[in-house]
């Protein structure tokens, strides 16, 4: 199985559905240590992405993701809009057509680079980066050891889940949660959680 245009579209649509479903939980997490809008931000963004995709005749999987990123930048705002927007644009730009596991790993890594270039967060700062970094590492390792796309995606999803979960004891150093200082400890980061959701979605659609 390669990452082709239908799969790219299916992924983005599945993310939109997952965000719609998990909106409440994401906002709940953001209320605890942020400003209570992460769920509605992503919901608004991916709803707009669906509309944008409807009219699109994508040239390839990269075009799907680039359009996704551009739309997120234009519609989300907040911290997550530019971060996820730049990430999807970077993934799209780096994606050959069709992409095997190794190529997809590198494209996903380009997305992480974009997030880090813009947001300047280090691992351990209690952000998206804490879920994204282990996910890329796991995807790469799996791809390098000959895993199929579904296998690599599943490994990445598990690693992202663990990374998101591991943000709980952290003290935030970036984003709004950093304003809470010590009080940010004990809560899972909303952005890391949505990143885990995005990787879990990739695993789900490739296995089903």
């Amino acid at each position: 199985m390669d990452f082709d245009t239908p799969l790219a579209e299916a992924w983005v649509r599945a993310i939109a559905a997952a965000v719609e479903k998990e909106q409440g939980r994401l906002t709940e997490l953001d209320s605890a240590i942020g400003d209570g809008d992460h769920g509605s931000n992503l919901q608004r963004g991916f709803a707009a992405v669906l509309t944008a995709l409807d009219g699109l005749q994508p040239a390839g999987p990269g075009a799907v993701l680039t359009k996704t990123g551009t739309t997120l930048i234009s519609k989300v705002g907040g911290a997550s809009g530019p971060l996820y927007g730049k990430a999807f644009r970077a993934i799209g730009a780096a994606l050959p057509e069709p992409a095997g596991p190794a190529a997809l790993a590198e494209a996903l890594a380009a997305g992480l680079d974009a997030i880090r270039a813009l947001g300047k967060a280090e691992p351990g700062d209690k952000t998206i980066v804490d879920a994204y970094t282990p996910a890329v590492a796991a995807f790469r390792t799996a791809a390098a050891t000959g895993a199929t796309l579904p296998e690599a995606a599943a490994a990445a999803a598990d690693a992202a889940d663990q990374g998101a979960h591991a943000t709980i004891p952290l003290r935030a150093r970036k984003g709004r949660a950093s304003y809470l200082g010590e009080r940010s400890i004990g809560h899972q980061d909303p952005g890391a959680t949505s990143t885990a959701l995005i990787f879990r979605t990739l695993a789900d659609i490739t296995t089903s």
């Binding site: 209320s31 234009s74 705002g77 907040g78 809009g81 150093r173 950093s178 304003y179 009080r183």
Partner: protein
Amino acid sequence: MKKLINTPESVLEDALAGVAAAHPELTVDIPNRVITRAVRPAAPKVALISGGGSGHEPLHGGFVGPGMLDAACPGEIFTSPVPDQMLAAAKAADSGAGVVFIVKNYTGDVMNFELAAELAAEEGVEVRTVLVNDDVAVEDSTWTAGRRGTGATVLVEKTAGALAERGAPLDEVAALGERVNAASRSFAIALTAATVPAAGKPGFDLPEDEIEVGVGIHGEPGRRREKLRPARELAAEVVETILADHHLNPGDEVIALLNGLGGTPLLELYIVYGEVAARLAAHGITVARSLVGNYVTSLDMTGFSLTLTKADTQLLELWDAPVDTPALKRA
């Protein structure tokens, strides 16, 4: 949640329709979410553009007008606007003299304005950015997101707006904004949390006798909780916290902004301001100018913030300069 809204999703659009209806002196582009002056300045001048999440009204749309902003970009509630808005505002407001973005220091705002500045530069608009970061409740360090921008925004917008109106060049206007920000410190206390319409319930729960100290303007909790105390003691705590960080000496003059967070009646703000003024007087600090009211709010949050800006002749003169906006007027 009890709110005067139609639906949580349409809050911003419906509010902009109200702003448009109430203020013929403003042009409100509802689809693109850009508020500009209905009458463009006669001569070319540096354009001031501010923006940020909604829920802080009258910030920023209420400060568009002669003597202050040229355009405002309201985001969704507590969510920074998107780059497209700032780009549209920059293109609409630029008269060739360049544009100053006034950005409150929040990760989202900084990143979205940064993307907008790139896009504007590509379209030939010269952009400077003034970052406002006055909230002493937040640790100021290069390893973190840094201090939040709050009340000082009003002072930056007013004084830089006055300077721009006089035809000062781009770098000078931006430098003045940075100077005002550097001369400003703020601190806030909340009695209750804000309720974001889409969330439907308060951002945090506070027992009947507790307050959040060092709170932000986005419904985020503060640094710690305390028991509610008399206004005199809360005012003292806020003044002392600011003075501990601010380099003010006896004899110094300040501009004081005693700001309500949205749900607190003016009566209570005046009570707090009386205590603030007395405390500052005890330190030998003179309040040269003051402003008491709701200027940088956090939806329905009850509580207040205090901003102290060290004043000098130039700042006072710019502060006193004429302004004609919905929320701030001066002849």
